[in-house]
């Protein structure tokens, strides 16, 4: 704990020093030596925390959280110190503080971009693509002939390069959100399909025989045994699709959009040399993607509480 306090004080001093007008862009050699020393010290402090093994559950959870937070915070500290201290042009790599300032100033724009890209394209596309994959997987399960015909086609469609598809979707569905939804649907369909198909085969022979001995029909077996058993696979597909959907919607906006959206903003601001705005959008996308994935992970935990992987070791 004393080490942590010293680390914080040292970092604050370094940040204050590097932002002085006469130091920014021309930090002296001893300063870099001090930064390296601070880095080694941070390493020691983090290692000590990681090695600690508190007996109580709360303490254990706190340590699990402190280590990555410390690590991440120090990385951001280094980023700030290096970009400011070495005078790195902002068109190559803006400092975290500049990005933070831009985020604070551009909240209305970031919100509009979020609405356009995430609420109008990512979520509808993710829902449609995943639902389509799921339903067709059930259909394939019921009709084996269909499975042999459709799965190769699904495989083929998933292999289509998104960068090639996006301009075509713009031509078919116009410049606004529908064409982005179409791209997302195409990207998310196959992962949902293959994961659900695999999941439906996950029910054990013993359990199936038990259902048969109860006299359960196809529908009952599906709803009470096979779908529940497939949930780990289904959620795997949904989690994969959450990140694919975000990437797809953003990149699809590189090819014809209205003048709003995360992808539009990123591509146009790069050309304008506003890298701080680009990073602001990237930060929003990263947080959005992480939250989306996190929510799905929580839902998965709630739905598949029975799975052996959750048992306490």
């Amino acid at each position: 704990m004393v080490g942590l306090v010293l680390l914080l004080v040292g970092s604050a001093a370094a940040l204050d020093y590097v932002h002085r007008p006469d130091v920014a862009g021309a930090a002296p050699g001893w300063f870099w030596g001090a930064v390296v020393g601070l880095w080694l010290f941070a390493w020691l402090v983090t290692a000590r925390f990681a090695a600690a093994a508190p007996p109580v559950a709360f303490g254990r959870r706190a340590v699990d959280l402190i280590v990555p937070v410390l690590f991440g915070a120090f990385l951001i500290f280094l980023w700030e110190v290096v970009t400011v201290g070495a005078g790195v042009p902002s068109v190559l790599m803006p400092a975290p503080s500049a990005i933070g300032a831009r985020i604070a100033q551009a909240v209305p724009t970031l919100r509009d971009d979020f609405v356009q890209t995430v609420l109008r394209a990512v979520i509808p596309g993710w829902i449609c693509g995943s639902a389509a994959g799921f339903l067709i997987a059930i259909l394939c399960d019921r009709v084996p002939f269909l499975a042999r015909g459709l799965i190769p086609i699904g495989n083929f469609v998933s292999a289509l390069p998104m960068i090639g598809i996006a301009p075509i979707m713009v031509m078919w569905f116009g410049f606004d959100w529908p064409s982005k939804v179409a791209v997302v649907v195409i990207m998310t369909f196959f992962p949902a399909l293959v994961n659900t198909v695999a999941g439906l085969q996950a029910a054990g022979r013993l359990e199936l025989d038990l259902m048969r001995s109860y006299g359960a029909g196809y529908l009952q077996t599906l709803l009470k045994l096979r779908l529940p058993a497939a949930m780990p696979f289904v959620f795997n597909g949904l989690k994969i699709n959450s990140t694919l959907a975000l990437i797809g919607a953003i990149v699809a906006e590189f090819f014809g959009t209205p003048v709003v959206g995360m992808g539009f903003r990123i591509s146009t601001e790069v050309g304008r040399m506003s890298l701080d705005m680009v990073w602001a959008e990237i930060a929003v996308a990263a947080v959005t993607g992480s939250l989306f994935y996190g929510l799905l992970a929580l839902a998965e935990r709630a739905v598949t509480f029975w799975h052996p992987s959750y048992r306490r070791r």
Partner: protein
Amino acid sequence: MKRALVTLGILAATGLGGSAAWAQEKVTLQLKWVTQAQFAGYYVAKDKGFYKEAGLDVTIKPGGPDIAPPQVLAGGGADVIVEWMPAALAAREKGVPLVNIAQPFKRSGMMLTCRKESGIKSPDDFKGKTLGVWFFGNEYPFMAWMARLGIKTDGSAGGVKVVKQGFNVDPILQKQAECISTMTYNEYWQVIDAGLKAEDLVTFKYADQGVATMEDGLYASEEKLKDPKFVERMGKFVKASMKGWDWARANPKEAAKIVLDNDTTGAQTEKHQVRMMGEINKLTEGSSGKLDPADYAVTVKTLLTAGGEAPVITKEPKGAWTAAVTDAAGIK
């Protein structure tokens, strides 16, 4: 005898190497777009040996949709870049110290091309319509024009709806936009080739509307220009480049072929490039390479009056151009 031969070999290698290194000064030029007749002057100067005559070893880097020349310059990937003045001034204001050292293009080729059936006859008819605009730093002249007309671009009532146009002409063909951005030397002819006729179109030249800005100019880093040797090297480069442009105007077909020879993508066609060369020559005609201060002043005034919430530039730029290079080249 064997020793003598080895010695001679070593001497020859040393001499040749030293000689080559001493005689040829390296210059890297970053273009603004893909290899096409828009940059014929540089390719001609290279292939015809004008750069070599000037003692320069020039590397030409093609541009493309994802390349912002000012960024390449800031990153040290080029000595000189081709850029449009609005984007260069905007980049300068953002901390990339670009300086115009020459202006091969005297005239602007920027246009807005509309379907006649949309009912548009004059800029007053733009309200309520959908217009295609390039972004990535190419939107500044359009924003300046709309600001001049007092038309909002956020799609609100009484304004225009703007779509980010890809680097093609699909929006006007698919009727997704009533008007699209075109250059006299490129997209306009793509529209014609796609089947629409000149009589089906209404075209507004930015130059006729009084909102044209300087286009292809040569820019270098302010820092590097403090070195007299660099200025001299740039002077040789500009002089040889202008010789290339003069040759291209005198020999348009041959110049187009030189461009095709340098196109590694194989995407360009002779028909398109010969026609482009003809249109480009209209833009470079009358330019000695020296930037006319009056032209610069018009561009700056246009950009400053493009007010609204997001002005292209917020204040008169200082030190954004220099005549030192063209003076060193003996260009008047």
